[in-house]
Symmetry: C2
Subunit: 338 residues, 2 copies
DNA sequence: GTGAAAGCGCTAACAC
DNA sequence: GTGTTAGCGCTTTCAC
């Protein structure tokens, strides 16, 4: 024998229907706000819902309609403020749409990402947002066959899964180099973190280097550290680039947190910026502008990438047909550090 | 007539079952890893899954078993690094448990929180984590009747919904005051942000003030700003406390980001710390220790609050019966700023 | 170790 | 405007 018949159904639209003296369909309609229901009936139903403290079961709803109201989001890390801004943009765009973000964190690990995609897909999300463009082939395959709108953020994908809006990190590195070359600097140092997992930093640096060398400049010293990027990292490792008479005129950083730490080191060690040493960075974080000597950096529209990504998921969900790969653009934020 | 009969079921355990030459039940068992299935059968099923690119539908599973594998999490903001550390702790604890966090952001708004709780509850999460203790009565009611494990984090709740692990912010303010009084300071200023939404900051300050005044000290000037807390806020508003001969010996801050900005102001304006002015703060963020003059602050176990919260949700989900309200404790991190 | 049938709570598709 | 019926894709329960 199968499971015993329902005994005391509670918290079902059926209970609400009975109490309101209508059919379950009517309750369903009131709940979803679709179709027309007589105002009097609506009132009765809403009262019944209130009295019973009924909470709609979207699990059953999603199954029945094969339409979920969740949007899956995977970010590399929440410890990195860059991603939290993207998340904020996504949350902002989704707010009030009826869709909810479900967030997964892959810690820069493509294997974890694959696992996450698989298990998030099991909840049949309406759309998928990935805040990075490095994936395993299986991940791409899985998402392509899922047949839901997908957006990749942060960088321009060479072979996008579906939609994409991100930065051209090569252009970022190039522009930064052009700027500092224009200022007359020719001898450079570099301090970066986690190039093995943050591919975009490597792309920026390589492009920076290429442009510098093409113009006759030199990269005298490169320090890359494999620990989590942060202020204290910059503070602790800056001595490698600041001490002695290395001839370095300007240090380029993988991001503003590292640069800020480096500036703290300089402040604590009486190194004059930009007189003794100039600094240039990437991120456009609040901290760059709040430094005693504001740091020249590159600002990218992180919040907007998240917002636009989510908005386009919504547009597709509402039936529009389109796809795109869009350069999000960036802005050179000139401080006093170079 | 109701909906037309299933035509081409794809991506169902039925399709897998047919291909593997077994019943759907067997596929289900393999998928969930429960019960015993002959190794040969398992292999056949797994092959079929692979060939079909089948993705498990947890929606249907959750409905049938009335058991979901999602844990709902609500944080006040992701812009505040404090919450991202809590999230990281939660993600860490849930990792590998089979449960997935579903994150909502209420932006410090109890009304939004209520909406979020309602709509997240509609997905029948297995548990609920709230990274704050301020709620509308309806929220509390809703969660209490949901009959799922609930954890509140960050502060000690007076009337906890269920479990709670957080800081005693009154003790924090008191300890900070004791420390600075012990150092001989008697005349204080305060710079805080967003007291209307961040209740914990107000609690810390009031407790600080009480302790100071009881000891014969004075709070000479209080500046509270209603904008999003951050480095630049500290940088821009510090002048109100630093300029002139106000007699202020030490400034207390609502958090480290504000304090760091204040230090940037002092650095840029040649105010000697702690000679001209001492600083004390709260948070224990990386930035406090990376300053040219490390800032004395209070460190709380944010990651661990998240981790422990999630772990206890899991314990309850595995059948254990218990509840608790736990003081997470804190540590005075003595820098050179006072 | 495996299968059959009923049902989780809801909504699509129609009828009235 | 409202009700009826079948079924979304899975798991429960029991039988073999």
């Amino acid at each position: 024998m199968p499971r015993p018949p329902n005994q005391k159904k509670h918290n079902t639209i059926e209970a609400v229907a009975v109490r309101a003296g209508v059919s379950t369909m009517t309750v369903s309609r009131v709940l979803r706000g679709t179709d027309k229901v007589a105002l009097k009936t609506q009132k009765k139903v809403n009262e019944a819902i209130e009295e019973l403290g009924y909470v709609h079961n979207r699990l059953a709803g999603a199954l029945a309609s094969s339409r979920s109201a969740q949007v899956a989001v995977i970010v590399s890390s929440v410890g990195n403020i860059v991603f939290t801004e993207v998340l904020a943009g996504i949350a902002h765009a989704l707010d009030g749409s009826g869709y909810q973000p479900v967030i997964g964190i892959c810690e820069y690990d493509a294997g974890r990402e694959l696992d996450l995609v698989r298990s998030m897909l099991a909840w049949r999300p309406a759309g998928f947002i990935l805040a990075h463009t490095q994936h395993k082939p299986e991940t791409v395959q899985l998402l392509r066959t899922a047949d839901i709108p997908v957006v990749e953020l942060m960088a321009l994908a060479k072979d996008p899964i579906d939609m994409c809006i991100g930065l051209d990190h090569e252009a970022v590195g190039h522009s930064t180099a052009e700027h500092v070359l224009g200022k007359g600097y020719r001898r450079f140092g570099y301090l970066g973190s986690n190039h093995d997992i943050d591919v975009t930093a490597a792309v920026r640096f390589n492009s920076f280097k290429k442009t510098v060398e093409k113009a006759g400049g030199e990269i005298l010293k490169v320090v890359t550290v494999n620990e989590t990027s942060g202020i204290s990292l910059g503070r602790r490792h800056m001595h490698q680039l600041a001490e002695g008479n290395s001839g370095i005129e300007l240090v380029y950083f993988s991001n503003d947190a590292v640069a800020a730490g480096a500036m703290m080191y300089c402040q604590a060690n009486n190194i004059n910026i930009p007189g003794d040493l100039a600094l240039a960075s990437f991120s456009g974080l609040e901290i760059a502008g709040a430094m005693p000597i504001p740091i020249t950096t590159i600002k990218s529209p992180r919040f907007d990438m998240g917002r636009i990504g989510a908005e386009n998921i919504l547009r597709r969900l509402s039936g529009e047909k389109f796809s795109f790969v869009k350069d999000a653009g960036f802005e050179l934020e000139i401080g006093e550090s170079c």
